[in-house]
């Protein structure tokens, strides 16, 4: 069922050199990501304003420094980490910053009275995110430590999730979704942090209980159904997601949390029946919510035909579709389109801006960068030696995948709109910082997974037979 440490192919046999660390690959890819970002920023400046600004130089130095530091920290404290994780994130953050900057300029050109620039703010958030990234790598030297705080994290996660629901709407509601904490000019979306806390809890809890949860009582239509009494946890998770849907009007977080839980349950127990039960429960819950709540009906209606509700709830998606369609194969070019026509293009609909200006090719490239990030995460999970790390890496990777799918699906009309943001790309401090933490944990796990295992269960070889020790830097 699990790959034990003894059978792990990566356990270094005596005499074989340790696997390569690939840090230089990471450095080269990071350099590439930074280069793309700077070129994108320069093109935006040139196209929209006709000249390069001094801010570009400041930005360039700052942005380059960020990733240089991140790289050095990884090189020192997580030397075996997967070399693709950080560059993928850097590229997404860089592209996001370029597009936010581009939309800032569009707002200025349109003579917007509020000339607040969001790109510098986002850069500060990215910096804060990287500080936390480094902090996690420095403090969390072994990801298994997290399992000890599972129940504490679960509590924190639940509290974070619940705060917006109990706050008055004036402090928690933006555009109809009650998922914010708005204090002193800052808006925090606690759901993004709750996502990580709860994923850690799910991993610890499921590793503990998976043997019981894998017990089957009977077979129905080829499915090994679990015992009735074991349905408890999935029902709790389901109730939770329904509560989020109802009290915070947030289809996104609801879908996200429940999806993560069910998939982790499936991975932990290897029982496909959990997927079917989970899907059934969510479908049932969603159906009931659709019947009972106007805002859910509205979302679904404007999803099915955004153009029919063009003057109301369908406007945003319709505009996004216009942008994407106008972009076509190659896009209007950076600075050449009108992505500012889509309401809240910087956060929820940044993917529409990418598709409009970089075209189908650019948008698909971005989707593939996400795919690389996710599949590297899942690969980490696959080669991870401990069950907790395995499950946690799987959960975190799937969280990114599922969030990207739900958000991009919403923007492109494949799914109903949700309040989630595109990880790393979209404007929004909470999401950015939280996802940096998420990646830090993934990097930590991948470092452990790829690190050559100390030969376990074998008698320590006599000193004279010991292989030459490679000094780890």
């Amino acid at each position: 069922m699990t790959s034990g440490p003894v059978t792990d192919p990566r356990a270094a046999a005596p005499g074989t050199p340790p696997p390569p660390k690939r840090r230089n690959t990471e450095l080269a890819l990071l350099g590439f990501a930074v280069l793309i970002t700077l070129v994108a920023q320069a093109i935006v400046d040139l196209t929209v304003t006709g000249s390069l600004t001094t801010e570009l130089a400041t930005f360039g130095v700052w942005f380059t420094a960020l990733w240089a530091v991140a790289h050095l920290v990884v090189r020192r404290w997580a030397p075996y980490a997967d070399p693709l994780l950080l560059p993928a994130v850097a590229l997404l953050v860089g592209l996001g910053l370029s597009f936010i900057h581009r939309l800032d300029l569009a707002a200025q050109q349109a003579g917007s009275t509020v000339s607040r620039e969001d790109a510098p703010v986002q850069l500060v958030w990215a910096t804060l995110g990287l500080v936390l990234f480094i902090g996690v790598l420095l403090v969390l030297r072994d990801h298994r430590l997290l399992a000890r705080f599972a129940y504490t994290l679960a509590l924190i996660g639940l509290v974070l999730l619940a705060i917006p629901a109990v706050l008055p709407a004036s402090l928690s509601e933006v555009n109809g979704a009650k998922i914010w904490i708005r204090v002193a000019g800052f808006s925090i979306q606690p759901g993004e942090f709750a996502k990580i806390c709860l994923t850690v809890f799910f991993a610890a809890y499921l590793v503990d209980k998976r043997d019981v949860l894998a017990l089957a009582s009977r077979r129905v239509m080829g499915l090994e159904l679990p015992r009735g009494r074991d349905l408890g946890p999935v029902l709790v998770a389901w109730m939770l997601s329904i509560l989020v849907l109802v009290f915070e009007r947030d289809l996104g977080s609801s879908l996200l949390l429940f999806g993560i839980f069910v998939v982790m349950l499936y991975v932990a127990t290897e029982r496909a029946s959990w997927l079917v039960i989970g899907l059934g429960l969510f479908a049932g819950g969603a159906l009931i919510a659709y019947q009972l709540f106007g805002h859910v009906q509205q979302r679904v209606d404007s999803w099915l035909d955004p153009f029919e509700y063009y003057d109301g709830s369908g406007f945003q998606v319709a505009q996004a579709l216009f942008g994407l369609g106008t972009g076509g194969l190659f896009g209007a070019g950076l600075g050449g389109g009108r992505p500012d026509q889509v309401p809240v293009a910087k956060s929820d609909f940044i993917a529409a801006a990418v598709g409009e200006e970089l075209g189908l090719f650019g948008l698909v490239a971005v989707i593939i960068v996400y795919l690389v990030l996710v599949e590297r995460g899942l690969r980490t999970s696959l080669i991870c030696r401990d069950a907790f790390g395995k499950l946690l890496a799987a959960g975190l990777s799937f969280a990114i995948a599922w969030q990207v799918f739900v958000v991009l699906g919403g923007v492109t009309g494949l799914l109903p709109l949700t309040g989630l943001t595109t990880p790393f790309l979209a404007y929004g401090g909470s999401s950015l910082v939280a996802n940096f933490v998420l990646v830090a944990v993934l990097v930590r796990i991948s470092d452990a997974a790829r690190r050559p295992a100390a030969p376990v269960g074998q008698p320590k070889p006599a000193l004279g037979d010991a292989p030459t020790e490679v000094v780890q830097t």
């Binding site: 991975v267 216009f322 106008t326 194969l329 009108r338 995948a401 991009l408």
Partner: protein, 480 residues
């Protein structure tokens, strides 16, 4: 846990593939539809920001953009509005663009690939980019005469240069004022559109190409061509021409126009049958030739059922399904399900005029860059060769007979020999009146088709005089 992990990895791949497929559908398959959606303001604002190219006829701009002070920088104007409306179409904030404004949109908007180098240059020199001009093949005298001739009736005139296929005139009535649909005031535009909608006949339809009608006897030219091309007939071949023809495998009978007799002897030469437009003779002739030969000849003349672009989109002309000889007989006199556009009718005359070679009709002579340099010149293109030069000569002789001694006398022009054929087609309402022809018969310069919907008279009375006037106007203009 590795087996389910792999499955999760594959599921993620599937989910992302779904996203990518969906984005492909939006950005490639639905791209044009979304781009041109009237509510998509990005393309519109960009287009109105740019000086749109002109549509030019004989050195005069019939559609042009003038700078304004309002939010949309340029206003589209049509100085001779209703005269060229069937061809120019309109350029509307509310209803999009149609006809030439649509067909040549890329050139006019300046997005055409042929203007690429120019756009690049604009980028570097900082000039405001502007669209290219489209110079049409039309002749103002032909267009004016045609529209004047159709005044007060519903109909269409198409005139072609038989040697090249160039469209010399394309009239359609009733017409409308494209200026009123192209203003910058959506309310005004909607008001005018509502007025047009309230009419029984939609003036925005270009009857020359957007609609097709029963051709009646003008189709006999195609059947004659099939007969002559078979080698079994000459214009002098005597064919049966009874007063009344009982259609095969049926009890229904077919009579001549007005129930008259074609010839007391019950038979006459092919040329005489065409001259007096004898229905029974041609119905029997079509049946004798068989469906295959009639259909092949019709297709060679362009009646294939398929539409085409000139670059305005032309509705396909068709023979319809012919199920038996009875229907073949009726089809051979241009009734039953035979349906032609007036342009197609003109193409028949044009092919006969051009020694049997049909040229592809075209409306755009030149595409010009904003600096008036010619970046594309249309070369005439041969579409097909329905009949040999010899057969074309025989058909010409027969059609001269129609105008000199037969039903088409009123198309005569003094001093010029005209060839032609009339048509009076039965339909749900009063008869449609047709005339196709060309002049001069020995050296054709112009081929025309005149169609008057539900004119109620005969092709010879109603349509032939208009055709004569149009051809005369053109020949006089050419110094003939």
């Amino acid at each position: 846990m590795n087996a389910p992990l792999r499955r999760v990895a594959i599921s993620v791949l599937v989910l992302f593939t779904l996203l990518i497929v969906n984005v492909n559908v939006i950005q490639v398959v639905r791209s044009d539809e979304l781009r041109s959606d009237g509510r998509n303001t990005r393309v519109l604002a960009e287009e109105y920001d740019r000086e749109r190219g002109s549509i030019v006829v004989s050195g005069t701009e019939i559609a042009t953009s003038v700078a304004t002070e309002d939010r949309l920088t340029y206003l589209r104007q049509y100085p001779q509005g209703p005269l060229y409306a069937p061809v120019t179409g309109y350029y509307s904030l509310v209803y999009g663009n149609v006809q030439m404004e649509r067909a040549a949109n890329e050139v006019l908007a300046g997005t055409d690939d042929r203007l690429f180098v120019r756009r690049l240059a604009d980028l570097f020199t900082g000039r405001d980019p502007s669209g290219g001009d489209v110079v049409l093949t039309m002749d103002p005298a032909v267009q004016e005469t045609a529209m004047a001739g159709l005044e007060g009736v519903t109909g269409a005139v198409v005139a072609l240069d038989p040697a090249t296929g160039a469209v010399l005139g394309m009239a359609s009535t009733p017409t409308y004022d494209p200026n009123l649909l192209s203003s910058h005031q959506p309310a005004e535009i909607r008001d005018y559109a509502a007025q047009l909608d309230a009419l029984e006949i939609d003036p925005r339809l270009n009857r020359a190409i957007d609609a097709r009608y029963s051709p009646g006897s003008i189709f006999k030219v195609v059947v004659s061509a099939a007969a002559l091309a078979s080698g079994e007939y000459t214009p002098d071949t005597v064919v049966p021409a009874p007063d009344e023809l009982t259609l095969p495998q049926s009890t229904s009978t077919l009579e001549n126009f007005g129930g008259s007799a074609c010839d007391p002897s019950g038979q006459q030469s092919l040329i005489d049958a065409l001259t007096i437009s004898c229905n029974t003779a041609f119905a029997q002739l079509g049946i004798d030739l068989g469906e295959e030969r009639v259909r092949e000849m019709a297709e060679a003349f362009g009646i294939t059922g398929e539409g085409f672009d000139i670059p305005l989109t032309v509705e396909g002309s068709t023979l319809g399904e012919i199920e038996n000889d009875a229907q073949l007989g009726v089809s051979s006199i241009g009734q039953q399900d035979v349906q032609l556009t007036p342009l197609q009718a003109a193409m028949i005359a044009s092919a006969v005029a051009n020694d049997g070679t049909l040229m592809s009709p075209y409306l755009v002579d030149q595409v010009r860059a904003p600096d008036l340099s010619v970046i594309d010149q249309t070369d005439p293109d041969e579409l097909s060769e329905p009949v040999s030069a010899e057969v074309a000569d025989q058909l010409t002789d027969m059609m001269v007979g129609v105008v000199e001694d037969g039903s088409g006398r009123r198309a005569q022009i003094s001093g010029v020999q005209v060839a032609g054929k009339t048509g009076t087609a039965e339909n749900a309402g009063p008869d449609h009146n047709w005339f196709i022809g060309f002049a001069p018969a020995d050296d054709p310069q112009i081929a025309v088709a005149v169609f008057v919907a539900n004119g109620g008279g005969t092709g010879g009375d109603v349509s032939a005089p208009i055709a004569g006037d149009v051809m005369q106007a053109y020949l006089e203009g050419q110094g003939g």
